[in-house]
């Protein structure tokens, strides 16, 4: 019986390996992937253009903290932040909301989590409404957004979605203005940055000695879009797909260890490359990729970039440098400001969800509500202290402890140009 079970076990595992199919060494563009949203006309690889084309309509200025406005003279609104499941990311968001709430004379209740229970989420939403909460910051299961919209509209309370757009899925219309990012644009920026790095640092290295790895998690659309964007930019830049590899972490898990294993597998399989460019979907993946490159001796001949950068800052502060060299970073205070600012505008009557940020309504999609895109900045070892300290200067916060000499609110642009495609 023991031997039989051992044989059955081996056969099952062997069959599953055979089911993996052929061992193609290059990635093929995923032709069956749903057509991604037509990318906006993105700026150059140095980051987004910020030439002041951020909207001329008066209601384009609403929804941001105004240092000249006397918030204390108005009513003190009650705001509750509700999430589906807790995570450090939501915790950071909550801290940023708390910061702005104090400046805007808002009585802010920190994040409440439903533990993934949608019924509990909706029930407690009603309970909070009955307790007199004036406005909500919401990160629920996206499938519940339509029901949330019904409950809040019936009760006449204001609400804004936070990290996810307020829509049941990508094919449905927005139910509220969205503040966030274009994930495909992120991917394009990462690839553009790496191509620029290659041209600058490895000008003498033959093209067929440079490989590109996109660390991906294809099960999560938001993260997968970053790989899609990177692949688009790689192809549009005239680079060969023969040198483009995807380290999909679905098999090994979207963790640092998973990224390490997936990237190691590609590095081992392609010994002909002497230099590597790597775009990773978030910090942990970048760290795992950098660890794999380090273990294989590629640290000096590799460049890893990602979206995020909090861990990179900590690494640099501790004196560590490895193949992870850049991160596209948005300060949490900049991210949170327009979300809670818009909510304040709704509660105070300055604007409605339908009228706020009219220049940011993407007519090419037929949107009814605005999609405000946030600025992101390439964080480098040379500029990271100034960038992070600037976010404190801009917000009047005290999160970082770097030298603020010479920094003003305008040192970096806190707004992004409206994409030209929005005009329709």
């Amino acid at each position: 019986m023991k031997k039989l079970l051992a044989i059955v076990l081996a056969m099952l595992m062997a069959l599953s390996l055979f089911a993996c199919g052929g061992t193609t060494t290059t990635s093929d563009p995923d032709e069956s992937a749903p057509a991604s949203v037509a990318p906006t006309k993105e700026p150059e690889s140095e980051g987004q253009k910020n030439t002041g084309k951020t909207g001329d309509h008066p209601l384009d200025k609403v929804g941001f903290f105004d240092p000249e406005f006397d918030y204390a003279s108005g009513p003190r609104f009650k705001v509750q932040y509700m999430v589906s499941v807790t995570s450090p990311l939501y915790d950071m968001f909550s801290s940023a909301f708390a910061f702005w709430a104090e400046k805007m004379n808002i009585e802010y209740s920190p994040l409440w989590a439903s533990g993934g229970d949608n019924d509990a989420y909706l029930n407690n939403l009603t309970t909070f409404i009955n307790q007199g909460v004036d406005g909500f910051l919401l990160d629920p299961d996206p499938a519940t957004f339509p029901r949330i919209a019904e409950i809040c509209d019936e009760a006449g309370v204001a609400w804004m979605s936070c990290m996810s757009p307020a829509q049941a899925d990508a094919t449905q219309p927005l139910l509220r203005p969205y503040v966030g990012f274009d994930q495909i644009w992120f991917g394009r920026q990462m690839a553009a940055k790496l191509i620029e790095y290659k041209k600058t640092e490895w000008a003498d290295v033959p093209a067929d000695e440079i490989g590109y790895i996109a660390v991906d998690y294809s099960l999560a659309g938001v993260l997968h879009d970053r790989e899609v964007g990177a692949e688009q930019m790689w192809v549009e830049s005239g680079e060969s797909m023969d040198h483009f590899y995807i380290a999909d972490t679905v098999t090994v898990g979207p963790t640092m260890d998973g990224a390490n294993t997936a990237v190691t597998a590609i590095l081992s399989q392609q010994p002909q490359y002497t230099h590597w460019l790597v775009s990773a979907m978030f910090d942990d993946a970048a760290m795992g990729a950098a660890a794999a490159l380090d273990a294989m001796g590629f640290t000096d001949n590799a460049c890893v970039v990602t979206i995020g950068g909090t861990s990179l800052q900590r690494q640099w502060d501790s004196g560590m440098e490895d193949a992870w060299r850049f991160a596209m970073f948005t300060p949490q205070t900049i991210y949170a400001e327009p979300i809670i600012g818009a909510l304040y505008a709704f509660m105070s009557g300055q604007a409605t969800p339908e009228t706020i940020w009219p220049s940011w309504v993407d007519k090419s999609r037929g949107d009814k509500y605005a999609r405000l895109l946030l600025p992101s900045y390439w964080m480098t070892h040379e500029n990271y202290k100034r960038l992070l300290e600037w976010s404190d200067v801009y917000a009047g916060a005290d999160e970082y402890d770097y030298d603020p000499t010479g920094l003003t609110r305008d040192t970096f642009n806190a707004r992004m140009d409206i994409p030209e495609s929005y005009a329709g």
Binding site: A6, L12, S16, V250, T251, M256, A292, Q315
Partner: protein, 337 residues
């Protein structure tokens, strides 16, 4: 010849054969599986998982289980990183000893709830897993704490014959020490008795609580050591990432696959280690072959079920053997009288 036949007839041998067959299949499909980079990565992963497995396997043999191992490892390694960050002049061996002590204390917390409050290990360790993991997450807010001590980090880079990591050798040493204690000492034999028949063990004068206390404290130390090996390889303490990787669950599945009984009293460290190697060969093989996600998820779940089936079959076989033995004994006594 008898010993060879006995060896060939064990489940461990079956697992060894399964592992070799798997490795051959993966290599045939993609020869880069045995490239130095993949082998070294595999051995690195086995290093921290194997250290955790040593403590977990012995706990299971004693009839206990510790589901908080991952959180203990995360918290213990965080203590190490924070000590080095907060006291830059502190020699890392001192920080290491203090963090192992922290792991022992966390083991004692588990012991308190089991021996003093009389709660079931399964429930206690689920609770303490959340407590320790939650504390680590609150302290770090989900961020990593880099460790930049070259003399410590260099341990993760040392490799014998360019392929066998030093940390793997550490793991082997830890496993051998545990095997020695288990098979060659009275305490080790008492572990089987406590796990197999607690009432008989008590009647023989063995202290269940004392045995449990020693094993949980030891497991706390081993879990932390596993976490420290991870820190050495990844150059940081990252509780959120470590807990997400769940190396302790891999260790538990491997232990059950390797023939250690979930009910206690049976199994061996050798089988558990082979189970761990099999799991990691499989997972690395999936990464090398770029398997679709559903295969990994489905087969990992299936492996757990198979492990439990194996355990159940073994338990039933043992009970049958004991019953047959008791019947024969009874018949002998009747015949004699």
């Amino acid at each position: 010849m008898g010993r060879i036949k006995k060896l060939l007839n064990t489940k461990t041998f079956g697992l060894i054969v399964a592992t070799i067959v798997l490795a051959i299949i993966v290599t045939a499909l993609n020869p880069s599986f045995v490239a130095r980079g993949n082998i070294r990565n595999l051995l690195n992963t086995l290093s921290f998982q194997g250290v955790m497995l040593a403590g977990i396997a012995i706990l299971l043999m004693s009839g206990n289980i510790d589901l908080s191992s991952g959180a203990v490892a995360a918290m213990g390694s965080l203590v190490f990183a924070l000590l080095l960050k907060g006291f830059p002049g502190m020699p890392w061996p001192v920080a290491l000893v203090l963090s192992l002590a922290a792991g022992a204390i966390m083991g004692l917390v588990n012991v308190f709830f089991m021996n003093v409050v009389n709660l079931v290990p399964f429930i206690v360790t689920i609770g303490t897993s959340s407590i320790f993991g939650g504390i680590a997450t609150v302290i770090t807010r989900g961020n990593a704490v880099p460790v930049n001590v070259p003399s410590f980090l260099n341990l993760g880079k040392i490799a014998f014959f360019k392929s066998i990591p030093f940390v793997f050798v550490v793991m082997v040493a830890v496993v051998l020490i545990h095997a020695f204690v288990l098979y060659k000492t009275r305490f080790g034999r008492s572990i089987y008795m406590v796990g197999g028949n607690p009432q008989a063990a008590r009647l023989c004068g063995l202290s269940i609580n004392r045995t449990r206390a020693i094993l949980f404290v030891s497991n706390g130390v081993m879990s932390t050591l596993g976490g420290l090996i991870w820190v050495c390889l990844r150059k940081q303490s990252n509780p959120a990432s470590f807990i997400a990787a769940a190396p302790n669950m891999q260790a538990i599945i491997a232990t059950l696959l390797g023939g250690v009984s979930f009910m206690g009293g049976a199994g061996g460290i050798g089988g558990a280690c082979v189970g761990l190697v099999l799991l990691n060969v499989f997972n690395t093989g999936l990464a090398v072959l770029k398997a679709p996600a559903y295969i990994s998820v489905a087969v990992n779940g299936l492996l757990l079920i198979i492990a439990l089936i194996i355990d159940n079959v073994n338990s039933m076989r043992m009970r049958r053997m004991l019953m047959v033995s008791a019947i024969k004994e009874g018949a002998k006594k009747r015949a004699a009288s």
